[in-house]
């Protein structure tokens, strides 16, 4: 009996199980964190203060970190396996393990580990039953990995909803904050609207193709697109047009009366619904537009670590999924939709930059600017050549570490010495703690795209691919619309460097061990990728199997 079960398990692990193994490990560790949490809470409530060994503050993050480590190890083994024997697919071709999945999963695991480390000493995350918080982080990471692995519309939808529900709880959980976060309510509603639009778009795609597998959908849409092309050609005057018209009359006589655009209209509608829905769902824009607009100074009422997770990892997950959909389903009609994407990118960059100018709260400034940062990635989609693919993944890789660095800085400065909620609180940071000021400036310069840092190469690669494919005017538009963005980042750097501190606070900034680790990793990546970018570009190239 046992042998049967074991052999069945072994067969499963060689087939479908291997595809899902990293996610399953995260899931088990999340459950473990929850169980540990309730057990520790019960024991410590009986004898308060006696059970020091099981102080939850350290056990919960430790288990969660172990989960990400195990999952990363499995991912590494999977990577070796797909290098030997090609991509894996499982669960009736709904999930795949390819280099794209491995790259982005590693990115999500790194983001989750960094956020866990930053949350250990975070005072805004209440110490009571914080195991839930870490379990939610692991669940969110697992769902994001599923989202990137999925190649079937049904599974993509399920994974997206799983990510969103973890996000709602992370943003709105009352145990995480003692205030009612109005930003969380806004986030919930824009995200729910986004998922409704995406599902409607998916229903159109299903209707156009009769299948839910994205490569099948792509094939059906490609056929449709080819018919549209032939119709457009047959309307031209000259011998070629006449030839096409004859071809059309012999093959598909009823199509002679059709207009090419009507054939393309439904796919474009589906494309618009899916991309706008995805942007509404995950990207941060709606998240800061609050109900009353007078509060440029107050923060969101959500812990900084959660905001970092929402604006960093979630944004990257959304972009990763959008890229997969764009490059498979909508690959054939790229010449039609690149206008839309370019418009969205330029609008996002200008909106993020301009809106951040009005803000004085540091978190708000950085979250607004993260809209602009994500919009830069879309420019790579406009260029859509090999260089652009590398540029986008390189950009996302370095962006994750620099934005984590900035948030880590804010969390450290605020929790340890004084409130660094607003720009004015940064005054005199150099005198209080030169290292802190210097680190903050490195991160901010990297986000702004200044030369010796990682951010510069991210921008450079994207601009290079734009020019390579002849989108010179878009390059100009983007340069002009980036000016407020650069100003906004430089403003933070200037505030941190200049000015004398107020007399009231004079505490130096001290780093905890976990924050020091996070900041060390982040500053290493944002400088190393700027000074010697070869290993990082190789990693970025790996994502698209080059």
């Amino acid at each position: 009996m046992l042998n049967h079960i074991l052999s069945a398990f072994r067969t499963y692990m060689h087939g479908d199980g291997a595809v899902l193994l990293p996610e399953m490990q995260l899931f088990l560790f999340a459950i473990g964190t929850l169980a540990m949490d309730s057990w520790a809470a019960n024991t410590s409530s009986e004898k308060p203060g006696t059970n020091l060994v099981f102080q939850q503050n350290y056990w919960n993050p430790a288990i969660a970190l172990a989960g990400t480590a195990f999952s990363a190890l499995t991912l590494w083994m999977l990577r070796a396996r797909i290098m030997q024997s090609g991509d894996l697919a499982g669960f009736h071709l709904t999930l795949v393990v390819d280099s794209y999945f491995v790259f982005f999963s590693a990115l999500f695991l790194a983001a989750t580990a960094l956020v866990i480390l930053l949350s250990v000493n975070c005072s805004t995350i209440s110490a009571v039953r914080q195991g839930r918080y870490f379990a939610l982080l692991l669940f969110a990471c697992m769902s994001m990995m599923l989202m990137v692995a999925a190649v079937d519309l049904v599974v993509i939808f399920l994974a997206m909803e799983a990510v969103a529900i973890s996000a709602y709880f992370l943003a709105a959980s009352p145990s995480l904050s003692n205030r009612t976060p109005s930003a969380a309510v806004k986030f919930l509603f824009s995200s729910a609207l986004g998922s409704a639009l995406v599902v409607y778009g998916f229903s159109l795609l299903y209707g156009l193709s009769g299948d839910t597998n994205i490569s099948q959908v792509a094939r059906a849409l490609g056929g449709r697109h080819n018919v549209a092309k032939v119709i457009a050609l047959s309307r031209q005057s000259g011998p070629q047009g006449l030839q096409m018209l004859q071809l059309l009359q012999s093959r598909l006589p009823e199509a002679v009366r059709w207009h090419a655009f009507t054939l393309e209209a439904l796919p474009i509608a589906a494309f618009m619904l899916v991309s706008v829905g995805m942007i509404l769902k995950f990207a941060v824009p709606p998240f800061q537009a609050e109900f009353n607009h007078e509060n440029a100074e107050t923060d969101f009422g959500i812990p900084s670590a959660v905001i970092l997770y929402l604006s960093g990892a979630f944004g990257i997950a959304a972009v990763a999924l959008l890229l997969r959909l764009l490059f498979t389903i909508f690959a054939d009609s790229q010449n039609i939709w690149w206008y839309i994407i370019a418009g969205m990118a330029i609008a996002g960059i200008s909106y993020g930059g301009l809106a951040s100018l009005r803000q004085t709260n540091l978190e708000r400034i950085i979250v607004y600017l993260s809209i602009a940062q994500m919009s830069y990635v879309l420019l790579g989609v406009v260029a859509a050549n090999e260089g652009a693919a590398t540029a986008m993944t390189y950009y996302l890789l370095t962006y994750l570490f620099t934005v984590t660095g900035v948030f880590g800085m804010l969390i450290t400065v605020r929790d340890r010495s004084t409130s660094a909620g607003t720009l004015n609180d940064l005054r005199g940071l150099r005198q209080r703690s030169p290292v802190t000021a210097l680190l903050l400036i490195v991160f901010v310069l990297s986000l702004a795209g200044a030369p010796p840092t990682a951010g510069f190469f991210g921008r450079y690669f994207i601009f290079h691919s734009l020019l390579e494919t002849g989108h010179r005017y878009i390059g100009w538009f983007v340069t002009v619309s980036s000016l407020p963005l650069a100003y906004s980042y430089l403003r933070i750097a200037v505030y941190a460097w200049r000015g004398t501190k107020s007399e009231t606070e004079s505490a130096a900034v001290a780093f905890g061990v976990s924050e020091a680790i996070v900041l060390g990793i982040c500053v290493f990546v944002s400088l190393a990728a700027g000074l010697y970018s070869e290993p990082f570009t190789r990693m970025a190239r790996y994502a698209f199997g080059q």
Partner: protein, 104 residues
């Protein structure tokens, strides 16, 4: 059997009713209902196309949409309930006047 375009028009109508509701109403619960109408429009689409192609995956999708809809409704209602007890209203405009007292 009705042709598929009839169902498509129905679902377009539902979609626009829902979208208008989301964009124009201020009350959070009405907004939530309007979003559910959009999801139902998608569901109608899936069922119609599943019938058209004789393919079961559209029906599966439709059932999953309903399940997800229930789940999302649950989460959203919990959050709205938490907000309402604080704001004493489900409409953010009313809450504006209270915001100074509530330290929000």
């Amino acid at each position: 059997m009705l042709p598929v375009t009839h169902y498509l028009f129905l679902s377009f109508a539902l979609f626009f009713i829902g979208l208008t509701g989301v964009l124009s109403r201020r009350n959070l619960i009405v907004k939530l209902f309007s979003m559910e109408i959009i999801l139902n429009a998608a569901s109608v689409n899936f069922m119609a196309f599943a019938r058209l192609y004789g393919d079961a995956s559209g029906q599966v999708f439709s059932i999953l949409v309903v399940a997800m809809l229930a789940l999302e409704l649950l989460v959203a209602l919990v959050i709205i309930a938490a907000v309402c007890s604080r704001w004493k209203s489900a409409t953010p405009d009313d809450a504006k006047d209270l915001s100074s007292q509530l330290d929000y």
